[in-house]
Amino acid sequence: MFQYQFMQHAFEAGTIVAIIAGIVGYFVVLRRSSFAAHALSHIGFAGAAGAVLFGVSPVYGLLLFTSVGGSMMAALSPRAAHRDVHIGTVLAFMLGIGVLFISLYTGYATEAYSILFGEILGISNSDVLLTLVAALIILSIIAVVYRPLLFASLDEDVAEAKGMPTFLLGIIFMILVAVATSIAVQVVGVLLIFSLMVTPAAIAQQLAKRPHKVVIISVAIALMATWLGLFVAFYEPYPVSFFITSIVFVLYLLVRFVYRRIRPLKVSQASFQNAA
């Protein structure tokens, strides 16, 4: 399998993306921003469409549009309330621009398919390099903001009272999601972004109570699903993103319904007494 360059690239890019998506995804789930992540991937599509229209590699369009869109969302809704309205508003606007791009260009079909559903088997060496650079940037930002972002995500009001720059942290978070989404689109495409950016972290949250443990589990799940998906897709002629998404989904069901039966979440005894 690894004799083939395209498989090497696929595994390289897939590994990098899985690690990043597993880490950033934790914050997406923690901040209940899965709609924002999903919206950003659609916004990214509009950017990719624009990039193709101007003859540039789609990834640059993705990065530009998601960063701008993400910053707009963060600026419009610094507090958690009503975020979905602001997100939807920005999403609709930017998708509208995407519609404009699409109407101006005639040769979209294959590009559109790979952006929508991921074309990890078509990743070039320069794509892998770009993915690596983007990942290193994300990791270095996270290394700096990990603690403040975690605290601001868990207890926004106290963080604000302590003088932490919660608004700036919100924008940084959105930029992180924007860049992570842009590189993840290569693997699973715009429409299936949840399977890497949200579900692994959601599963991991069910399994651990300490953030660094959750992140490790989240990355492990994303990696496992990506590798397994690539492995299967090498032998079966079906899209890689389908396999990745299905593996993650099955795991989610297992944890949610089987694991939780064996080990239900502890509910405090006192809360039963209060009800009496």
Binding site: R32, A80, A143, V144, V145, Y146, R147, P148, L150, F151, A152, S153, L154, D155, E156, D157, V158, A159, E160, A161, K162, G163, M164, Q205, Q206, A208, K209, R210, P211, L265, K266, V267, S268, A270, S271, N274
Partner: protein
Amino acid sequence: MSTIQPEITTAPVQSKVITAEKLVAGYEDNIVWRDASFTIDRGEFVAVIGPNGAGKTTLFRLLLGLQRPTSGTIKLFDSEPKRGNPDIGYVPQRHLIDSETNVESLELVHLAFCGHKWGFHLSAKTGRKAALVALEAVGAAELAHQSLNALSGGELQRIFLAEALVSNPSLLLLDEPLANLDIRRENDLLQLVNNVVRSRAVTALLIAHNINPLLPFLDKVIYIANGKVATGRPKEVLTSEVLSALYGVHIEVLHDSRGNIAIVGIEEHHGDE
């Protein structure tokens, strides 16, 4: 109208924690309350009482440096309140914790200790130790490794209090910590806050709706209503005269046999008690 000013105890200068002089608070063009002049001394347990929307949280925002006074002065530890004062422990009214938050309590308290620090840290030992100490101080050490979404209301309030105490503040600001607690948990939490106040000489301001559970513990009351502020000892502020002057309508303060207070005549102003 001018300030309602019952006797305020004079105290030596060093022990004044909060001083307000003709303080006026508001947002943009709206004035929330005016002419507040009072002093809070070190180690006092103070209730901030008043109807919904009277501006109780506004007072906290002024103290936290999140808002500037419209006019007048407010001093905290002899200087102007600034944002991010590590000497204040804040327990806000709302928290983002819900049934999805599967994070252990120790982690939240630990983050309150070191969450404002940027950059990577290799060893979390001192932070976790400080967090455990704070949890012990509120009698919640056994909850350290339990997930926040598995805790009852009363237990959560203890964790939030530990969160505020972990940085060893001199001033505690608690915004409606008793909401959603039954009478027994209310009393437990108040005993706890009182212990912290007395044992650490910490000053505490607590916003509440119902004054009665607090009466056994209070040194002072700040009563905010109808755009005015009255401050003083409970016996001095919670009188028919003072409250009538505050509300501008006839108010009667009735006492029952056990010292509980019923304030009659403010039904239009207060929500449910």
